[in-house]
């Protein structure tokens, strides 16, 4: 009788554990913070939604700055964002913030670490699904974002995918068949920096 039971129960049980919710938080904050900021001694975590911060009006403001409309599935007003303030002793030394961005093959989880002036210290994909994943995750590609700021990304037109002058124009897409994911990455990082700016300095700045 147990034979019957287990044979069928596996059909049920395996499915229930197959999927887990996608979030913008770090997979393992203790490990990830130490890796990105080796000199850190701790961190503060803050959860925030655009609904709490300013609602639809704020979303429209951010969309204008981003240069693109938010995606109804990925960028809902209720999405809970998380940012981490990294501490050395009692003093903050930087921030970590991640966003979900729709990629060609599903979600791209884009995480950036910045200094106090919100300049990118490090960028990596926490999650990416692509045949060219190794090219996107390579230091050769992600390292190009080091030192960039929101001001640099304001020169990137997301909707038209046009780059004017500035350091962002120099970023090389090493992928062969994934220009969509390259564009999604630029959009995701721009969104990440805009949101972080709002979270740190408040709406209406």
């Amino acid at each position: 009788m147990l034979k019957l039971l287990f044979s069928v129960l596996f059909l049920f049980s395996i499915y229930t554990n197959s999927f887990a919710a996608i979030g913008c938080s770090l997979d393992d904050p203790d490990r990830d913070v130490k890796r990105l900021f080796p000199e850190s001694s701790g961190y503060l975590t803050k959860f925030i939604t655009l609904k709490e911060l300013g609602g639809q009006a704020l979303q429209s403001e951010i969309e204008e700055k981003l240069g693109d409309k938010f995606d109804a599935v990925y960028e809902d007003l209720d999405v809970s964002y998380v940012y981490y303030t990294i501490l050395k002793g009692k003093d903050p030394i930087g921030y970590i913030h991640g966003v979900n961005q729709k990629g060609k093959f599903g979600v791209l989880q884009i995480v950036i670490a910045t200094d106090l002036k919100e300049k990118i210290i490090s960028f990596y994909y926490q999650r990416i699904s692509s045949p060219e994943v190794s090219k996107f995750r390579a230091n050769e590609f992600t390292g190009q974002f080091k030192g960039l700021t929101l001001a640099d990304f304001y020169r990137y037109n997301v909707l038209e995918n046009k780059l004017s002058d500035g350091p962002v124009v120099k970023i090389i897409d090493y992928s062969v068949n994934s220009p969509e994911d390259f564009r999604a990455t630029l959009r995701g990082i721009k969104k990440d920096l805009i949101l972080l700016d709002y979270f740190l300095h408040g709406a209406g700045k």
Partner: protein, 394 residues
């Protein structure tokens, strides 16, 4: 009415003691209602889950009965397969109304579940799948464009969690394969909500399992022929036949065994509550010995005293029963959460169903409990001799 007022006022004189005693009864009733609600809810949800599988018989390859554990331990491997020829042979049986072949295949994705990795289950199905499950409707998109298209249809829950919409593409890293999402199913409230469906031929091709199946779902024209049908399949080599009725019975039997345990806990809780009530009222009676003596001396009959004490006990149990039911109703979500965390498999749907009949029954049970628990203290109080009672009270 006067007796009721006296009984109520007596209880109010020792508020904390009364409150704690009512609390004890309330907890016992809440436990009882929750357990009985779980019994009803679990059976209903499980029956619904099994019925919504759409078939009465599942044929699988003969093999390790602990496939679930094997699957987990091997990180998605360890499934047993049978040849498609078995399906072709069984499909000719005239007793069958609908039949659907399936091929389950798993892939490990290291990025899932916050970087801990997780298994994705792909289910290869044919067009007959929708005939077995006519309640499956599309939230968006449609069925596969062909029998071997590189396409996927996603269950409602999986699509929500993976944030997928029709038109998206899915990349399977280990197979280096790209599939197009052509449809999202509406919520069915079953395990199908978490599955990625692909055409059977596609599944056999991309997972390199040509002509292989993991299961065959069968619905018979006449459920009465189930026994004969199963009997005829037992002679087929390499397969095992699982009747959903048997599975349901087996699970219910297992649940019944554990129910004996949980019901014992509920009975013990009720017994403790009853003893607590008897003890409280008895203490109250002893404390009021002189008072009872005076009441008798000024004309109260034995029956009057009996009624007052009996009513006090019953009031405690009535109030305990009432609050216990409120606790049970308010705590349903919490109980469900705990059960889902504890049980290895919990069916979809409500696990704890508290019906009006259950509430009424439990309430009446609490009243009867009060009536029984009150007999002895009421008898003791009514049996006191006035003179002795007044003297001992001094």
């Amino acid at each position: 009415m006067k007796i009721l007022t006296v009984a109520f006022k007596n209880l109010q004189r020792k508020k904390i003691r009364t409150f704690l005693t009512i609390g004890g009864v309330a907890i016992a009733v809440a436990v009882l209602v929750s357990l009985m609600g779980f019994d009803t809810g679990y059976q209903k949800s499980l029956t619904n889950d099994i019925d919504k599988m759409g078939y009465q018989v599942l044929v699988t390859a003969k093999g390790c009965p602990y496939e679930a554990a094997t699957l987990m331990l091997k990180g998605g491997g360890g499934l047993r397969y049978m040849e498609q020829s078995v399906f072709d042979k069984i499909a000719k049986d005239p007793r069958i109304e609908r039949i659907s072949p399936q091929l389950a295949a798993t892939e490990f994705d290291k990025d899932r579940q916050n970087g801990q990795g997780g298994i994705i289950l792909y289910m290869g199905v044919s067009n007959s799948y929708l005939e077995l499950k006519p309640w499956s409707k599309f939230k968006s998109g449609q069925w596969f464009s062909s029998d071997d298209a590189d396409e996927v249809i996603i269950g409602y829950e999986a699509a929500e969690l993976e944030q997928r919409v029709a038109g998206d593409q899915i990349f399977i890293p280990n197979l280096n394969k790209v599939l197009k999402v052509v449809g999202i199913f509406e919520r069915t409230g079953t395990q199908d909500d978490g599955i990625m469906f692909i055409p059977l031929a596609t599944a056999q091709r991309i997972f390199d399992l040509p002509g292989k199946l993991t299961g065959i779902g069968i619905k018979l024209k006449d459920i009465g022929s189930l026994g004969d049908f199963e009997e005829s399949l037992y002679n087929e080599p390499g397969i095992q036949v699982i009747s959903m009725a048997q599975v349901k019975g087996t699970i219910f039997n297992l649940v019944s065994s554990s129910k004996v345990m949980t019901n014992s806990v509920a009975i013990i809780a009720i017994l403790i509550a009853v003893i607590g009530v008897v003890n409280t009222i008895l203490m109250s009676v002893f404390e009021r010995t002189k008072e009872i003596g005076v009441m008798k001396a000024i004309g109260a009959s034995r029956l009057d005293i009996f009624h007052i004490i009996w009513l006090e006990t019953t009031l405690i149990c009535v109030l305990g029963g009432f609050f216990g039911e409120i606790i049970a109703i308010l705590g349903t979500s919490l109980v469900e959460h705990i059960i889902r965390q504890t049980l290895p498999y919990a069916p979809a749907g409500k696990l704890v169903i508290i019906t009006p009949v259950l509430l009424l029954g439990s309430f009446l049970g609490a009243v009867i409990m009060g009536l029984i628990a009150g007999i002895y203290p009421a008898f003791r109080a009514s049996s006191m001799r006035p003179v002795e009672a007044i003297r001992s009270g001094d």
